[in-house]
């Protein structure tokens, strides 16, 4: 197994920014376009731009779903980013076709609520601060509470167990911004766009062993 990070490319992704970010912290990455190559990587990133259904369709058509399950079970580290985080869960309100997610994390995805006559507009776009909920979150080892991260999304994950909520963010609701359980991780924001703090998170992830 190579000691580098595999980034899954299932069509609609901003892979480029992610690779650039890993380059900056001197972590080797490879873009994985075939499920057959995924097993080469101890650390796997599932990025994602797009809709839940499109994401699951692409993963399915490219044969990634079973392979991801197999490797998750073996203990490979998996980090879902933005839509990629939502795809780790069991289901989403965004799905028009009632697709199941990857179900590596228990819980579902809800839509952020527009609140009339309030300041809450959806999609949630821009820089918002993280509330760290747990001590010793590996992914957030070098992150100060209330640091700003860049969000661009309309849906958010609701993990079944609050024990897995590492950090939250407020936008009308307090939603899960960082998820962690054993070898499965998710961040709702885009660490690759968040300069030092974002790079720190990617660095932590790449060093898990």
């Amino acid at each position: 197994m190579k000691n580098s990070v595999g980034i899954i490319d299932c069509g609609i992704n901003n892979i480029n920014s992610l690779q650039k970010a890993f380059n900056k912290i001197e972590v080797n990455t490879e873009v994985v376009r075939s499920y057959k190559n995924l097993q080469d990587f101890s650390h796997i990133v599932l990025p994602g731009v797009g809709s839940f259904d499109k994401g699951m369709e692409n993963l399915k058509n490219m044969g990634f779903i079973e392979e991801i399950h197999k490797l998750a079970e073996k203990g490979n580290f998996i980090l879902g980013i933005c839509l990629g985080m939502q795809l780790l869960f069991e289901e989403s309100k965004e799905s028009l076709n009632n697709y199941s997610g990857l179900s590596l994390a228990k819980g579902k995805c809800e839509k952020l609520k527009i609140i009339k006559d309030s300041k809450i507009r959806v999609p949630h776009m821009g820089w918002n601060s993280l509330k760290i909920k747990k001590k010793d979150v590996k992914l957030l080892a070098n992150i100060e509470d209330n640091s700003d991260f860049y969000f661009v999304h309309s849906y958010y994950v609701v993990p079944e167990s609050s024990n897995n909520i590492a950090a939250t963010c407020n936008h009308g609701v307090e939603f899960t911004a960082v998820y962690e359980s054993n070898n499965i991780f998710g961040v709702q924001f885009h660490p690759e766009k968040c300069l030092k703090n974002g790079l720190n998170i990617l660095k932590q992830f790449s060093q898990f062993s």
């Binding site: 901003n14 650039k20 507009r121 999609p123 949630h124 918002n128 860049y150 661009v152 009308g172």
Partner: protein, 258 residues
């Protein structure tokens, strides 16, 4: 009832206009002046750690050309902050290419005027959050606005409020409204359309056109715009990005300080 709140910061967004590989600045979409090279300009904004940037290829609008891969390559190579690209986007594949170059969002103007169905098509494929509509308008007289089209599309029969409602309903994630009359004049934004649009739609609204000093940004942000776009202020005036943020902060507007 639990207080509804957000710690979302208001955004200050430089807009960079590109023509013929050069960064330019215009006045009322005319009188273009060259400011230099795109990669260098991006690096300056990288160093200032700005919230995000929007880069628009203005040749595409005039020449009805395709997306500009040269610009996208420069953006993808040099930009460390979130960025959006606009200019010449006509198809789903164009959007896909932009995203693959690392764009967080794409900005679409003419294509939506031509074909409003492209809003739902693009939003369903990529999610609303990465589709920004840009709407330029002329102020005819008080409370009477006309959509302005760079591509000389017929817009006479388009009511701007209906149009913006359609954009919202069909799924764009954000709208930039630009007053053509104010663009490049450094005399402040036009607020007359902003308030009614904020009442109509629930998605983030960005305002653009006319910002000449940090104080100009206060009122639209207090009214409820999620962000203020500006261009001239970064090229023609003495204000540094950080000065702008500090002034906003002193006026009790939540912004990201780095």
């Amino acid at each position: 009832m639990k207080a509804l709140n957000t710690n979302l910061k208001k955004r200050v967004i430089p807009i960079i206009l590109v023509s013929n590989h050069q960064v330019v600045k215009s006045k009322e979409f005319k009188d273009y002046r060259v400011f230099g090279n795109l990669a260098q300009t991006i690096n300056v904004f990288n160093q200032r750690n700005v919230d995000e940037i929007i880069v628009l290829d203005i040749d595409a609008q005039k020449k009805k050309s395709k997306i500009n891969l040269d610009i996208l390559k420069i953006l993808s190579r040099n930009t460390t902050m979130p960025f959006s690209y606009g200019g010449g986007i006509q198809t789903i594949d164009d959007i896909k290419q932009c995203l693959n170059f690392g764009c967080d969002k794409v900005v679409i103007n003419s294509k939506f005027i031509q074909n409003i169905k492209f809003v739902s098509e693009s939003a369903q494929t990529f999610g609303s959050q990465c589709i920004i509509a840009s709407v330029d308008y002329n102020i005819l007289n008080k409370n009477n606005f006309q959509i302005f089209s760079h591509s000389k599309l017929k817009t006479d029969n388009l009511n701007i409020k209906n149009y913006i409602n359609d954009l919202n309903r069909l799924g764009v994630g954000e709208i930039i409204i630009t007053s053509v009359n104010h663009e490049g004049n450094l005399k402040g934004y036009d607020h007359s359309l902003l308030q009614s649009i904020l009442n109509e739609v629930d998605i983030p609204i960005l305002i653009n056109g006319g910002c000449g000093k940090p104080e100009d940004m206060i009122q639209p942000l207090l009214l409820g715009a999620e962000g203020v776009c500006a261009s001239s202020i970064f090229f023609y005036t003495q204000y540094a990005y950080r000065d702008i943020k500090n002034i906003l902060l002193r006026n009790k507007i939540k912004v990201r300080i780095t």
